[in-house]
């Protein structure tokens, strides 16, 4: 990033020009409770040499997934990434995070996106995929507002089995367009079907469930679809983990209208929570297509009959439709979807299936063992994919601390989402039996 100096004289001039007393006044809109009150804990001036040294020191206190054995998931998943992924995306032809502005000039980029879309369709069983959205949360939010536009209704029912952060993003997007978001409670670790049956009515624009849900459990999709189908217009939005679809039935088989999710598990590194990408796929329906946000790459033929790729259905987009566009957050995550496309190609259908199977089998091994331990109980041990919900007699924070000292990132403490208590543990294909047994030894003896 460039360093642009502002002398006190410059700052004074600028403040005078806009009629503001001091710099603090510019931040007066930030709510008290989130505003930083103390100055940043950094020295006033450092030489470049000192600064570099400090940065290296501080960076060393970061823990990476190479340092600890991770059982954390909750939306970001630690899968093995074959080295071909890095190799392919490091090609200079692909060096841009965006769809190029003169899109059709970059046939290679468009082809990669087209293939990404095709593979997302195959995984989800849906007919049309867009070129991606920002992340899982924004994909849920976009699906929800899309459903409201199509049905001209405002009521959205969100299962509490949908990732709490996604629900929060949906609320943020939904607020200015007056969406009425209602949460459907859980019964155990799955959506309370009776509560859903009570809430759903002809004013419901969409029902949103996650599959597998935030706690790892598989929802009764058939039952949920039955309730939705009894309404004339209500759409079925399914949030899913693409890796799980290697094993689970495709959402299309349960009559999903819109399928969205976080694409990170497809070959993207966890980083510090991003950049990730959201995927969105719909069934082939004119109404859905006209209202789908994001770019779409289509296949076509040029004047000589040769195969080519173009951006298609652009009249939904903001460079044409302005404020009436299907979305005004039109960034996609081309580099991340490229990663996903390379990853899916490298893994293949069988590869993803095997990966899902391994993750699930290992997770079930660990869950059964933990459930046998004194002071631990797995709440959803009969019904989950590769992530499960553990209650412990000891405080979760103590359990995490104990495991951390022994080299484990134990899982995600659910209390941080302020809805449920417990530990959410995830097992991917990367974990070995030895690692799991070592974790069990730290946790203690059998019941």
């Amino acid at each position: 990033m460039d360093y642009i100096s502002n002398t006190p004289e410059d700052i004074k001039k600028m403040l005078e020009l806009i009629g503001v007393e001091d710099v603090e006044e510019l931040f007066s809109l930030i709510p008290e409770k989130v505003a930083l009150k103390d100055p940043l804990n950094i020295p006033d001036e450092l030489s470049e040499l000192e600064l570099k040294k400090l940065a290296v020191e501080r960076a060393a206190s970061n823990i990476t997934l190479e340092d600890k054995v991770s059982f954390m998931g909750a939306g970001s998943y630690d899968h093995f990434i074959p080295s071909i992924v890095d190799h392919m995306i490091s090609r200079t032809e692909f060096y841009t995070a965006y769809t190029p502005y003169q899109a059709e000039l970059s046939q290679g980029t468009l082809q990669a996106t087209y293939e990404y879309q095709s593979m997302i369709c195959e995984l989800t069983g849906m007919d049309i995929s867009n070129a991606s959205l920002l992340d899982g949360g924004s994909a849920v939010a976009e699906a929800v507002s899309m459903a409201s536009r199509i049905t001209r209704k405002k009521k959205i029912l969100l299962s509490k089995g949908v990732h709490p952060a996604y629900r929060e993003v949906a609320d943020t997007y939904g607020h200015p367009i007056s969406l009425e978001l209602k949460e459907i409670p859980l019964a155990g670790a799955v959506t309370d079907i009776n509560a859903l049956a009570e809430e759903i009515d002809e004013d419901t624009a969409a029902v949103v469930v996650q599959y597998p849900n935030f706690y790892g459990s598989i929802e009764d999709m058939r039952k949920i679809k039955e309730l939705i189908a009894a309404q004339k217009k209500t759409l079925f939005i399914v949030v899913t983990n693409p890796i799980a679809l290697g094993l689970l039935k495709e959402p299309s088989e349960f009559g999903a209208d819109i399928v969205v999710g976080e694409g990170q598990p497809l070959g993207n590194v966890i980083n510090f929570g991003g950049p990730y990408f959201g995927f969105m796929a719909i069934k082939d329906d004119r109404k859905l297509l006209r209202q789908m946000p994001g770019r779409i790459v289509g296949g076509t033929k040029d004047v000589d009959g040769k195969k080519g790729f173009v951006l298609t259905m652009q009249t939904r987009e903001q460079h044409i439709r302005r404020e009436k566009a299907t979305s005004n957050i039109c960034s996609n995550e081309a580099l991340n979807t490229l990663i996903a496309a390379v990853y899916m190609s490298a893994m293949g259908k069988e590869g993803i299936k095997e990966l899902a199977e391994q993750s699930m089998k290992k997770a079930h091994y660990l869950a059964n063992k933990i459930d046998e331990l004194e002071g631990f109980q797995v709440l959803n041990k009969d019904n989950f994919f590769h992530e499960f919900w553990v209650k412990s007699s000891e405080p979760v924070s103590d359990v995490k601390k104990k495991l951390f000292a022994e080299g484990f990132l134990a899982g995600v403490d659910l209390s941080c989402f302020e809805e449920e208590e417990g530990l959410l543990i995830c097992v991917t294909e990367k974990r070995t039996k030895d690692e799991m047994d070592a974790l069990l030894t730290v946790l203690g003896g059998e019941k």
Binding site: R152, T315, I320, R321, K324
Partner: protein, 127 residues
């Protein structure tokens, strides 16, 4: 440009023709001319209810995409599905085969806020 009689118009160049409780809605000759060749029409669903001036359809031409506003509030009772395959009818016969939808009017008095053909002709000349 001739403006047919018996039709009422909005300033956004939609027309409405009332026959009893039901009215037919479309866009004017002037509107189709401004839009250019129409390539796609998005029509509302049957039984949907709209207020006066609410957007109920979308016309996509080679030049632009435009919302179409309902001249009077009402319930959609019929849509011109022929347009899905022949959107060019909006260009060719805007007052006849290019109609968009038929509505059951909810409030007849809303007609008073519209221009008749004489007023609309004057309005076009001013524009």
């Amino acid at each position: 440009m001739s403006v047919p009689e018996g039709y009422y118009f909005t300033e956004e160049h939609e027309w409405i023709k009332v026959e009893g409780d039901v009215a037919t809605v479309g866009v004017s000759e002037h509107a189709q001319h401004e839009l250019g060749d129409v390539v796609f029409v998005e029509l509302p669903e049957l039984d949907e209810e709209y207020d006066q001036s609410e957007d109920f359809a979308v016309i996509e031409s080679v030049k632009a995409v435009s919302d179409v506003y309902l001249p009077m509030g009402g319930k959609i009772v019929e849509v011109n599905e022929v347009l899905l395959d022949q959107p060019e009818l909006i260009n060719e016969e805007p007052y006849e085969g290019g109609w968009l939808a038929k509505i059951e009017i909810s409030d007849e008095s809303e007609l008073d806020s519209l221009m008749d053909s004489v007023e609309y002709t004057a309005f076009l000349e001013e524009e």
